[in-house]
């Protein structure tokens, strides 16, 4: 006879290690996003997350999620096996082992979940991340103000050897042609759009935590300084989801604060520039069009002309190779294209189910929906690690939670942190 304790072992205490661990990783995703291992291909953040995941598994902060692990094994196995029919049946397949390996490596941490996913832990974690988001917004605003008083933009990381920085991103660029003012990347961002995305996430956290509306105003100004729609998209989608759920009772003050901020913002050059981008999707060659429309137009004929390519795909990384061959700056490979063009309908469907499942059962429906939409519509989100990392930190590692989502059972006043209440 032998015994088995049925409850999860508490190795490191309750919520504090989890809070420190997640907040630390969010801080790392802000501070280290531009750094790469020698060669400039593998971001330092990949190493950070894998090291942190190893530590989390060792100490009991993390455990493998049975369902996601099963789906991951199925998706990774089928996409690797797809190379075999591609070689036999597809005309001129382009199969990159590196591309497949990178994809599977980036998503491997999604097979894990936090051991402590309770409400109190979630609250403290979101609060800590919100503080970092506010700090990031302040730095983005300061960067803009510094340029407005006449100090030209200078890259503080220019002293770092290029081989130690992630390559292939436009760190920042003028807010309009000929302008001396650059879009805010808070000096440390991989792109203004990534900083905008992270501040946008912080804005959603602020609403979920029912923080002081002034915090949201600060975050909104930060997004405007980036002159990037990523953050606006994150907040707009999240607000739409919140308005469909019981949390809407508490959302209206934030909607009002946001509306006033937007109204005032569009009176400024940066705001006008950002507003003008709202309809740019219809313009050929615009950033939104190059991300969300033109890749489909370009790759659809190649994908659909051969039934074997439809079934088994053109090969891991083939969509990226074809897009790069066009030499069109800014033309990206959106997630659905990457999944189905490269791996076909059969393996691609398994991969798609795994990726979609990573957003299921999240503590916040708004965060899950908005990050999913951002990754699958606007960003090349399946392999851009800093984007994937946001999904891991705020959605996947907290799922599945059996309890009601935060939008259905909002935090009460008693649960709110005094720090967030200080200006009330």
């Amino acid at each position: 006879m032998s015994t088995l304790t049925a409850a999860p072992p508490i190795v490191t205490g309750a919520h504090r290690p989890t809070v420190r661990w997640i907040v630390g990783l969010f801080a790392a995703s802000i501070l280290l996003q531009r750094f790469a291992l020698p060669g400039g291909i593998v971001p330092v953040l990949v190493v950070v997350v894998f090291a942190a995941a190893g530590y989390g598994l060792h100490t009991g902060l993390l455990a493998f999620d049975r369902r996601r692990l099963s789906l991951y094994l199925l998706a990774a196995g089928l996409t690797a096996a797809a190379a075999l029919p591609q070689t036999l049946l597809v005309t001129s397949p382009l199969i990159s082992l590196t591309s497949w390996g990178l994809f599977m490596t980036v998503w491997a941490p999604a097979t894990l979940h936090l051991t402590h996913r309770d409400r109190a832990t979630l609250h403290r974690t979101f609060e800590g991340c919100l503080r970092w988001g506010l700090g990031l917004a302040v730095v983005a605003i300061v960067m803009r103000l510094v340029q407005m008083v006449g100090l030209p933009y200078a890259d503080p990381l220019a002293v770092v050897p290029k081989t130690l920085l992630v390559q292939g991103y436009v760190i920042t660029y003028p807010i309009e042609y000929g302008s001396q003012i650059y879009r805010s990347n808070a000096w440390i961002g991989l792109e203004p759009s990534i900083i905008s995305l992270q501040i946008g996430i912080a804005a959603v956290l602020a609403i979920l935590l029912r923080a002081n509306p002034l915090a949201l105003v600060l975050l909104a100004i930060g997004i405007i300084c980036t002159v990037s729609g990523s953050g606006v998209f994150i907040v707009a989608v999240a607000l739409t989801v919140m308005l469909l759920m019981p949390l809407r009772r508490h959302v209206w003050p934030y909607v009002a604060a946001g509306a006033v901020t937007v109204f005032l913002a569009v009176q400024t050059p940066a705001g006008r520039e950002l507003a003008s981008r709202a309809t740019e999707a219809a313009m050929a060659g615009s950033s939104t069009s190059l991300r969300a429309i033109e890749p489909y137009r370009f790759l659809w004929p190649t994908w659909s002309e051969n039934v074997w390519t439809v079934l088994f795909g053109g090969g891991a990384g083939s969509s990226q190779q074809l897009v790069e061959a066009t030499n069109r700056a800014g033309l990206l490979v959106p997630s659905p294209v990457k999944v189905f063009f490269d791996y076909g309908v059969i393996a691609g469907l398994a991969l798609c189910v795994f990726l979609v499942f990573c957003y299921f059962g999240a503590p916040s429906r708004a965060l899950a929906v908005t990050l999913f939409a951002s990754s699958w519509v606007l960003q090349p989100g399946t392999t851009t690690f800093v984007v994937v990392m946001q999904t891991l930190l705020f959605v996947t590692w907290w799922a599945p939670r059996r309890r009601h989502p935060l939008e259905s059972a909002p935090y009460t006043k008693n649960e709110r942190s005094p720090l967030l209440e200080v200006s009330r």
Binding site: A6, P9, S70, L73, G77, A83, L88, T115, A325
Partner: protein, 399 residues
């Protein structure tokens, strides 16, 4: 209480270790398949980048570049190249493609073959034939214009020298303009980037082996883990219960520790639960004896079928009918029970029925030991543990 459903790294690795033979077998099978596929029927590709130069309005350039791409793939070009290469026209036609790089005046002329050299030769030969063809046609056109001018000059010579001079100047001007226009309309092809080497299409042997091995390892790992996670699987060892994934826990330990765990918990009431009556009572007796041996005055209360009130059946041994179970299981009665029986602690042995669960669910003021007979389905054991999950129950597997 933490959320359940996780699988510790230790558990996962031990699961993999247990199924190592299956996973290694799958990996080898995948690697061999990948190697075989990469070896059979290898295809190589080579690409020449051809630049199209035109003298026309840039707005018309894209049309001319598209036309050039179509011409390169035309039967006339392919046939000439096929004759030189010594291959059938149809075979070369299938292996050659000319694709315009969007937004540029460059054409990717690609050829595939079963060897690297043949691919390079095919791409290069088709390019050369196409360039020569365009050059020939352009020369012919210029020649035609020159010839037409010469004919005009030769015909209708005027007698008057001044008039003849004026006629020749006029015709020369017209011919010059026509020649200029012909040159402007001429499309010329040139090699922007030759095919210096071929690339392997599909997968090379190392890549085939790696991808095949990865596919084999991942899919057999999935099969192995799915078997372990089957909730209908009979429990043989405590590992089976842990591998089910719904209950993550500590490593298996001897049942004698049940008494020690009860004492360490500081709880005055220890509930021994389970579906099997004999196994449940044996575990309860063992726990009670262990506690007494350690100096804790302990009473054993067994819930039996019937309606009898609580009554003593031996030294510190009591029985109560299931119909009167509220007398000992309701929260208030449960807390008073040791005092009521004049002992320091009570080991209470009861079936885990719905009635009993009603008194216990959501509470954690007792220690729960769950007797699980060998052969119980994983899912069934997990359900029972779930009923008293709040109390962090300890499962005891009974042979």
């Amino acid at each position: 209480m933490a959320d359940r459903g996780g699988l510790s790294a230790h558990t996962l690795f031990s699961l993999v270790r247990r199924n190592l033979a299956l996973i290694v077998g799958g990996t080898l099978l995948g690697a061999i398949t990948g190697f075989a596929l990469a070896t059979i029927n290898p295809t190589y590709g080579a690409t020449v980048v051809v630049e199209v130069a035109t003298g026309v309005d840039p707005a018309q350039t894209s049309t001319l570049v598209e036309s050039a791409a179509s011409t390169i793939e035309s039967p006339a070009i392919i046939s000439k190249a096929a004759t030189t290469l010594g291959v059938p026209d149809a075979q070369l036609s299938q292996s050659v493609s000319a694709d315009v790089q969007p937004g540029t005046n460059l054409i990717n002329l690609s050829a595939t073959a079963d060897s690297a050299d043949s691919a390079v030769e095919a791409a290069t030969e088709v390019t050369n034939v196409a360039i020569t063809d365009y050059r020939t046609r352009s020369d012919e056109r210029a020649k035609q214009v020159r010839s037409a001018g010469a004919d005009l000059l030769a015909d209708g010579t005027l007698d008057a020298a001044r008039a003849e001079s004026a006629r020749q100047a006029s015709i020369g001007s017209v011919v010059g303009t026509a020649q200029g226009q012909a040159i402007q309309d001429t499309v010329t092809l040139s090699v922007a980037s030759p095919a210096l080497s071929a690339y392997r299409e599909g997968v090379s042997r190392p890549v085939g082996i790696i991808l095949g091995a990865a596919a084999g390892a991942l899919l057999t790992a999935l099969v192995a883990l799915s078997q372990a996670w089957n909730r209908r699987r009979p429990i043989r060892t405590l590992d089976d219960l842990e591998y089910a994934g719904d209950i993550s826990g500590a490593p298996a330990e001897p049942a004698d520790r049940a008494a020690g765990l009860a004492l360490s918990s500081g709880r005055k009431v220890v509930l021994v639960l389970g579906a099997d009556e004999a196994g449940r009572e044996a575990l309860a007796r063992r726990a009670a004896e262990g506690m007494v041996l350690n100096g804790t005055h302990t009473a054993l209360v067994v819930v039996v079928p019937g309606e009898e009130d609580l009554h003593e059946v031996g030294a510190d041994r009591w029985e109560i009918g299931a119909g009167q179970v509220d007398e000992v299981l309701s929260r208030v009665q449960r807390r008073r029970l040791p005092e009521r029986l004049g002992t320091d602690a009570v080991v209470l042995c009861a079936p885990l029925t719905d009635d009993v669960t009603l008194y216990l669910a959501g509470q954690d003021d007792y220690l729960a030991l769950l007797a699980i007979p060998v052969g119980t389905q994983v899912g069934r054991a997990a359900e029972q543990l779930e009923k008293v999950a709040t109390a962090d129950p300890i499962g005891v597997l009974q042979a």
